[in-house]
């Protein structure tokens, strides 16, 4: 059955009729064309579909869209500025070669946005734990951690916008 919901997606309010059986992953990809949200397992094991719901990173594959009614959703598409400039996190992922096949990247960046938003400093081991909900088979996590470390440091040191 279709249900009309209202949610903010990447800053703009969407009023959508969605099937109650839809996952947020389905809705973001097929109704809204936000294909950065990747499907890798459908059971919350790989983290490729991670988006922020009211600022909290969740696996959108096991999150029903109707649950996001009245909430705010952020995906990687919402990070780049209108000038075309990348966000700091995105730029640092590029600079640190934290990207290989790129399939886990959008999800990891969303976790990074959440972590950085806490404006706290973390040790490398704490960061490992904080990204442990993402499986990456290309990088050994090494450069991802380098990027995370750098961005967390920058933001907690200098109050740079995420």
């Amino acid at each position: 059955m279709l249900k009309v919901i209202r949610m903010k997606v990447n800053g703009s309010l969407k009023e959508l009729a969605v099937d109650e059986r839809e996952s947020l992953l389905n809705t973001l990809r097929t109704r809204l064309g936000l294909t950065s949200v990747k499907m890798g397992c459908e059971v919350g094991e790989c983290g490729a579909c991670t988006v922020l719901v009211d600022g909290e990173a969740v696996d959108s594959c096991i999150y029903l869209t109707v649950w996001a009614d009245g909430k705010s959703v952020l995906t990687v598409e919402g990070l780049k500025k209108n000038t075309g400039e990348l966000s700091r996190i995105q730029q640092i992922f590029v600079d640190e070669a934290a990207v290989q096949c790129g399939f886990c990247t959008p999800g990891l960046i969303m976790s990074a946005v959440e972590i950085v938003g806490e404006k706290k400093s973390y040790t490398r081991d704490e960061l490992r734990r904080k990204i442990s909900g993402h499986l990456c088979r290309c990088t050994g996590y090494e450069n991802i951690l380098n990027a995370m470390e750098r961005v967390v440091k920058e933001v907690s040191d200098k109050e740079i916008p995420v």
Binding site: G44, G47, L64, V66, W67, R129, G133
Partner: protein, 292 residues
């Protein structure tokens, strides 16, 4: 897209209970991290879902006037870990649920779901056992409180009726006050893991912190259901905390109270080794915390 027959968003407890009663295929969903996965696997495909996510009674953590603590069933693991009451009075529970899956799972999964799915591997279960928690179940006939030790009836099964909603957990002040505890999760990975074995130890020390007044021990995956080990606990009563022989006896006694099985995940023998070793190590951690 999930194979859901009907979906009901309940905003009050009566609404949820009515929806469960009205549709024989209806099951409760909260965080979705178990139910949606079972649905996708085909196990619960075609069932109806009654969401209890938005029912006020299931939210939050409260410390009552008498010091008892009530935990709403819909509390996500992450919120539980961050909750000021939990951090202050039962940090061990927050730490235990912080070992579930990964950060995203912990943001969605709830303690109610963790207990109600009946798995012996539930990371909150062993700790709740050592806290003598009561499971609060609301049904058509009213509410009942089931001691968690009596809640599990077998692998994947509990005393909860399909038409009942778990609203939360109650922990008496006397069951947490003065105790400190530790939960060790042993898995093959350090994250995104289901416990090969989980061990919870809570200790209450004497005033001089030299001996045990009370010790509680419970395990996950050491039997078909989460299991408490009263005989082992009794071994350490009034023994000195540096009494290594007593600690060894404690661990050995635990072995008589468990019944792990062999599966492709781990052999019974290896689990027995872990049961013994983790009893010792977790006890040590718990004592460390109690002495702070």
């Amino acid at each position: 897209m999930f194979d859901i027959k009907n979906y009901t968003e309940a905003y009050t407890l009566p609404e949820a209970l009515e929806a469960l009663r009205a549709d024989e295929d209806a099951i409760v969903v909260c965080g979705g991290t178990d139910v949606l996965i079972r649905m996708r696997e085909g196990k619960d495909a075609g069932k109806s879902l009654v969401s209890v996510r938005n029912i006020p009674e299931l939210q939050g953590v409260r410390r009552l006037k008498n010091g008892d603590i009530e935990i709403g069933a819909a509390q996500t693991f992450r919120r539980l870990t961050a909750d000021p009451v939990i951090r202050k009075y039962i940090p061990m529970l927050g730490e235990a649920v912080d070992t579930v899956g990964g950060p995203q799972t912990r943001a969605a999964g709830t303690i109610g779901g963790n207990i109600c799915n009946g798995a012996t591997s539930a990371d909150s279960a062993a700790t709740l056992l050592t806290l003598n928690a009561q499971v609060i179940l609301a049904g058509e006939g009213g509410t009942r409180a089931v001691p968690i030790g009596e809640f599990y009836t077998g692998p994947g099964s509990t005393v909860r009726e399909r038409t009942e909603v778990c609203t939360g957990f109650r922990i008496k002040r006397s069951d947490y006050d003065g105790f400190a505890g530790h939960y060790t999760k042993y898995g093959k990975r350090s994250a995104m893991e289901i416990a090969t074995l989980g061990c919870a130890v809570r200790v209450k020390l004497s005033a001089d912190k030299a001996s045990f007044k009370e010790v509680r021990l419970a395990y996950a995956v050491a039997a078909p259901t989460p299991v408490r080990c009263p005989k082992a606990e009794a071994v350490l009563k009034n023994r000195r905390i540096d009494d290594d022989a007593a600690a060894q006896q404690f661990a050995l006694t635990a072995l008589t109270e468990v019944n792990p099985r062999s599966s492709w995940r781990a052999s019974r023998e290896f689990r027995m080794q872990l049961i013994r070793e983790l009893a010792l190590r977790t006890l040590k951690e718990a004592v460390e915390k109690a002495r702070v």
